[in-house]
């Protein structure tokens, strides 16, 4: 059974001239995520989307561990885990030979795998359902923003609806309207970066095939010589195949079903034999770019996701980066609207997410340069690395088929309390980094450290409960009522915490401060710093 996209109810329009605290433009993956996060923090949100359904095709497809943890905080983690295809292993082939394979999560004791493959439309549908159920998100489908005017007092919008054009004003506008952002273009904001002179064909193919749930990447395979191919498994027997075509390919010609079928047929004949039947679900030809806005905050307008930054698909950094934007902004905007943080906290969205975008752009650019060499020298180095990698382990580090999305550690953020003289062990999260997950037991019930963190700030105390400060969540080496029993010691070791340590955690589950001992004044000062107060 194929996926049947929902048609969301189009309701009579909002009052003409009404003012709203928060308007989200774009009801896609990122817009719906930030709307749901705000709603769960008690903030009412209006979402405007020009369509009345979810996106077509698999699109973002690879949801990284950190993104799954964010969706779990929003109540959708288990659903994604159950429906999605979980994977940790990637294989790289040169020609028909496997060069090497890697395991992105080689240790047990994690709630979520390195990645879950899931068509973006499922995530969008579930987010829209959760938004509607929250009672605080007003979803307005078939509402297309046609004009935007920005002042210190607010953001005025003209919105075309099936019931006529209306005017709305927002205290805060969250632009989540994608790579071709109307808001960004209306404001004339430069979107600067690099266009890659290459074309890729993406096909979602329905078939029953025995490939394992792994990421397979071929350089120069016999069934598609001279180019690269990427294969991912998705739920519902849908397979995502990306064929590199080269710059000279004609996008219209390459989208023709017969031509796509011939490419898929050649691949299946080579890999599994001529008996495997298949059907095309979605086909697209794209050229990609790596670029971003100079700033993501423009007064009362904040840009998230592809509207703010764009990357190539190799590394799964587009959708994951966008969800992490939402995760970073929602608690800050909620804190400001609740009156517990100054407007300056919103500037930290820029300060934290621009380096994150740059990191994503850097990795995605390097992967693209490796996959599509721009000069004979680049080509020679790439082929040299591939040949060496088959024989020498050291050379595998040079092979880049996409450096897969990792959570951003927000190094140097002004919201973080500097570690000072207290040195954390290698691998432990420095202030700014997300808290690593670990299995714990609460009153005898197995659960996860991240599931036990509050929606606001959490003070985590490591050690026996009798020494814990009031109000702290206790991670204890011994079982006791109400504590998180760290039976296997993984919570403490992954956090780099010894007995007596106190870790202040932000509402987005990133570490704000890590103290070797409890000090109420230092803790309060760290909390104020994390709120830019």
């Amino acid at each position: 059974m194929g996926y049947v996209p929902p048609r969301f109810a189009v309701r009579p329009s909002l009052d003409d001239g009404a003012r709203h605290r928060v308007i989200v433009v774009g009801g896609g993956l990122v817009g719906l995520t930030v709307a749901l996060d705000l709603a769960q923090r008690g903030i009412g949100v209006v979402v405007l989307d020009e369509d009345d359904t979810v996106s077509d095709g698999s699109r973002a497809i690879c949801f990284a561990k950190r993104t799954l943890e964010i969706f779990d905080r929003l109540g959708l983690g288990q659903r994604m885990l159950e429906k999605g295809v979980q994977w940790n292993t990637g294989r790289v082939f040169n020609g028909s030979r496997e060069v090497w394979h890697f395991d992105l999560l080689p240790e047990p004791g994690h709630a979520f795998p390195a990645f879950v493959n899931l068509q973006q439309y499922y995530a969008e549908q579930w987010l829209a359902e959760a938004c509607a159920a929250s009672g605080l998100v007003d979803l307005r489908w078939k509402h297309k923003v046609v004009a935007v005017e920005h002042s210190d007092a607010g953001v005025a919008l003209r919105v075309a609806t099936p019931f006529g054009e209306i005017g709305l004003t927002a205290d805060w506008l969250l632009a989540c309207d994608g790579a071709r952002s109307f808001i960004r273009e209306s404001l004339g904001l430069p979107f600067i970066g690099q266009v890659f002179r290459d074309r890729f064909l993406i096909a979602d193919v329905v078939m029953q095939a025995a490939f394992p749930p792994e990421r397979w990447f071929w350089f120069d395979p016999p069934f598609h010589p001279g180019q690269s191919v990427l294969l991912h498994r998705q739920p519902d027997d849908v397979w995502r195949i990306d064929f590199q075509l080269g710059w000279d390919a004609d996008p219209e010609l390459e989208k023709q079903p017969d031509r796509v079928r011939a490419r898929v047929r050649a691949m299946l004949d080579a890999m599994v034999g001529p008996d495997t039947a298949f059907a095309l679900e979605w086909v697209s030809v794209y050229t990609f770019r790596c670029r971003r806005l100079a700033r993501f905050r423009h007064g009362r307008i904040l840009f998230l996701g592809d509207a703010a930054h764009q990357v190539s698909p190799f590394g799964a950094r587009g959708g994951n980066g966008g969800v992490q934007d939402a995760d970073n902004l929602a608690w800050k905007l909620a804190a400001h609207l609740h009156g517990t943080a100054p407007e300056a906290l919103l500037d930290s969205y820029d300060a934290e997410r621009i380096p994150a975008a740059d990191e994503n752009i850097l990795h995605s650019t390097r992967a693209t340069d490796f996959i599509t060499p721009k000069s004979p020298a680049a080509r020679a180095y790439r082929d040299a690395a591939l040949r060496l990698a088959a024989a020498h382990e050291f050379a595998r580090g040079f092979v880049n088929s996409g450096r897969l999305s990792r959570p951003c550690v927000l190094a140097g953020s002004k919201l973080s309390t500097p570690q000072g003289g207290h040195v954390l062990p290698p691998g432990a999260p420095m202030p700014g980094a997300p808290v690593p997950d670990a299995p714990v037991l609460r009153d005898g019930v197995p659960t996860w450290l991240l599931s036990c963190l509050g929606t606001g700030f959490t003070v985590l105390y490591f050690g026996p409960p009798e020494a814990a400060p009031a109000g702290a969540l206790v991670v204890s080496p011994i079982a006791a009522p109400g504590v998180l029993w760290d039976r296997d010691g993984l919570a403490a070791s992954r956090c780099g915490a010894e007995s007596g340590h106190v870790v202040l955690i932000r509402p987005d589950q990133h570490v704000a401060a890590h103290f070797p001992a409890h000090d109420p004044h230092a803790l309060e000062s760290a909390r104020r710093r994390a709120l830019a107060s």
């Binding site: 004979p376 080509r379 020679a380 180095y381 082929d383 690395a385 040949r387 050291f394």
Partner: protein
């Protein structure tokens, strides 16, 4: 100062390794050599310095 006791032999071997290779193969061979030797050096700063020096003199 070079630590190689027979630079003539090394030079001759590098040139000889390219015998009968077309341009693309020759280039790839050099690239493999560079990557192997970078690994042998095992120090990012020294490799970067060598790249900068070669670029300066080229």
């Amino acid at each position: 100062m070079s630590g190689l006791d027979d630079p003539d032999a090394v030079f001759a071997a590098l040139v000889a390794a390219h015998a009968d290779l077309d341009d693309a193969s020759s280039r790839r061979l050099d690239a493999m050599l560079v990557l192997l030797l970078a690994h042998e050096v095992g120090d990012t700063a020294r490799v970067m310095a060598a790249i900068a020096e070669a670029r300066r003199l080229n």
